[in-house]
């Protein structure tokens, strides 16, 4: 089976489902939202060599730019007023496009200024007197990113923020970015589950080891791909490889497949398994899932990263 052909079909469907405002909803014929628009435009960009996607991509870019708030962030749904984790996604996607320097810089500055409260010095001090400190035994000095501002650090939003920083023009990164990245990487390594992989960010609660999940593991590994070899990465890659035959949902399968390919661990069955779902099932799961599958099927994708010739040794 030619994976390129199937990616092309997924991209055609995505393009057909684009709303008139340039965005996509989580499901077809629903109002546009930022997250599915980010994934859809990434998939179309990867598939858009022949130029037939350029109009859709331009419209999607307009949708994203039109929905940026004056503070620099994006909200999950246009009518919301508080920025959240989708800002990282938009920043990563728009950073790959020319002419978006100003909005992405505003977004990056907002991201760099968004500190989770759980790791603030004051709360850490107060927690040292509380019994709650014994419930989750992770290190609280690391600061990543939360799903919403001024809450707690979690694995996936931290991974997305790292991905945004990696896509951003390194010369224009705010001065605090290097420190934030270092702390975020420390957080990811600290939050890894004992048997490898990540869940939302609770590796151990009440002394019981947390079980890893596919999506947080894959996103964390993708965000750590350029870093030197580390026990957490090798353990988690091994965990993810072991999960592959058991993964039943197309979304997790696509993202896990992209992750493993990023590390040079290609799954021979991946494309045919994804192909077997059919477009109808993918649409039922959501536009973002269709876009993930489209990206996973596309050998020419650039983002989320596929590192040519730089594979981590097993």
């Amino acid at each position: 089976m030619d994976a390129g052909l199937c990616a092309e079909k997924c991209a055609d469907v995505l393009q057909e489902k684009q709303n008139s405002d340039g965005g996509w909803g989580y499901h077809e014929e629903t109002p546009s939202r930022v997250e599915p628009t980010c994934w859809a435009v990434s998939a179309l960009t990867a598939a858009g060599e022949c130029g037939k996607r350029s109009g859709a991509i331009t419209n999607a870019r307009h949708y994203l730019l039109a929905n940026q708030k004056k503070e620099g962030f994006w909200t999950a749904s246009p009518e919301m007023k508080t920025g959240n984790w989708v800002t990282s996604l938009v920043c990563a996607v728009l950073s790959q496009q020319a002419g978006t320097e100003s909005p992405t810089l505003a977004a990056m500055e907002w991201l760099c200024g968004d500190y989770p409260l759980d790791s603030s010095p004051l709360l850490r001090f107060l927690r040292s007197f509380s019994k709650a400190k014994d419930i989750s035994q992770h290190e609280n000095t690391y600061r990543g990113w939360g799903w919403t501002p001024r809450t707690s650090s979690w694995v996936e939003p931290t991974a997305f923020a790292l991905l945004a920083m990696q896509e951003f023009d390194q010369k224009r990164l705010p001065s605090v970015a290097a420190r934030r990245q270092k702390s975020a990487v420390g957080l990811l390594y600290d939050r890894r589950c004992p048997d490898g992989g990540w869940n939302c960010g609770n590796p151990r609660v009440y002394g019981v080891a947390g079980e890893a999940l596919v999506l947080p593991t894959a996103w964390a590994l993708i965000s750590l791909r350029n870093l030197p070899k580390h026990e957490s990465k090798s353990l988690s890659l091994a965990w993810l490889e072991k999960q592959m035959p058991k993964i039943q949902s197309p979304g997790s399968l696509a993202v896990a497949g992209m992750c493993l390919e990023t590390y040079g661990k290609e799954s021979t069955q991946l494309k045919s398994r994804l192909h077997d779902y059919g477009v109808e099932t993918l649409l039922e799961d959501g536009i973002h899932v269709l876009a993930w599958v489209c990206l996973a099927m596309n050998p020419g994708r650039r983002w989320p990263a596929r590192i040519e010739g730089r594979h981590e040794p097993s």
């Binding site: 919301m80 707690s152 596919v214 039943q248 997790s252």
Partner: protein
């Protein structure tokens, strides 16, 4: 009248609530008949209505102790359709894992219900609408809630009978955390923890109070719930037209004092009845099905002395 147009009635203005306890040994028996007959006892207005079943789908659950059992969900769906509902939707927004498809596969829901298509709604990804939280129990002030929930005529909370490591117990009211969309607030919905779990439960239920509760206590979870606890068979299904009364009764079955569960104590003034005098007990008695559940040391205060 759908949930958008409802006015919150304080507990003292509410008529007595009813709770029906049915003894059910396992998930093998004919739940459709049992659940259908049990719902009929309450004489709900179902004809032509859109019913939303809100089960507790938490995560991958190969042992079947974490999530509402698919046999119960499917039987409830069939029952409401037979009783004249125009449409019965099933919806949840799992809190820890955004791959709802994987959770559905893990619980084998579609094996029981058949193809659901648009009749299943991933509430994490649904279109949202701003809701001002009139009760202000927490600092949240507003939430963006799924339109599918707000548009339902009859909202049915279908929790699993479980202890919970932050809230004490997770039942009909705590189950409503699942209507808060992850796409807006994340996985987990951490903003609710920061606003105070107990207080958030009150605000969410005041904004979208379940009309009916079906508690899956055939097999529950004790100890470090809602995910890492231990399987506990209680052999009951609970039905109630008042989620507070359902939860209070469930606590009593678990050998716990509902008055000492912080959010339930306050819910007893706002959302329904906690006081046994205001609850008409149908079916089995609490005493006849009482099955003490173990709790974490932090929640020893909830345990009824008489059953210690």
């Amino acid at each position: 009248m759908n949930l958008r147009n409802r006015r919150l009635i304080p507990s003292f203005q509410r008529p007595p609530s009813r709770v029906l306890i049915r003894r059910v040994a396992d998930y093998q028996r004919d739940l459709e008949v049992l659940i259908g007959e049990s719902i009929m006892e309450f004489r709900l207005t179902i004809q032509g209505k859109t019913v939303l079943l809100k089960p507790n789908l938490v995560g991958l659950d190969p042992l079947g102790v974490m999530n509402t059992h698919p046999a119960v969900i499917s039987a409830a769906r069939t029952s409401f359709l037979r009783l004249g509902a125009a449409r019965v939707l099933i919806g949840d927004g799992p809190a820890m894992d955004r791959d709802t498809h994987a959770i559905l596969e893990s619980v084998r829901l579609r094996e029981f219900t058949g193809k659901l298509g648009a009749d299943f709604c991933d509430l994490n990804l649904d279109d949202v609408e701003r809701v001002i939280l009139e009760t202000r129990a927490s600092k949240l002030k507003e939430l963006y809630l799924p339109k599918t929930v707000l548009g339902a005529d009859l909202l049915v909370s279908m929790p699993k009978l479980k202890t919970h490591h932050w809230a004490g117990v997770t039942l009909s009211l705590k189950n409503m955390f699942g209507i808060v969309p992850g796409s807006c607030y994340g996985w987990p919905k951490n903003i609710l923890h920061w606003a105070g779990i107990d207080r958030s439960i009150l605000d969410i239920n005041a904004a979208a109070r379940p009309d009916f509760a079906i508690v899956d206590g055939i097999l529950g979870m004790e100890g470090n719930g809602p995910i890492q606890g231990t399987r506990k068979a209680a052999g009951v299904l609970l039905f109630s037209d008042d989620p507070v009364a359902a939860d209070a009764t469930a606590c009593r079955i678990m050998g716990l004092l509902p008055e000492k569960v912080a959010y339930l104590a306050r819910a007893g003034t706002m959302l329904g009845h906690l006081d046994p005098q205001k609850i008409q007990q149908l079916g089995e008695t609490v005493e006849s099905v009482r099955t003490p559940f173990a709790v974490l040391p932090e929640f020893r205060r909830l345990v009824e002395e008489a059953v210690e």
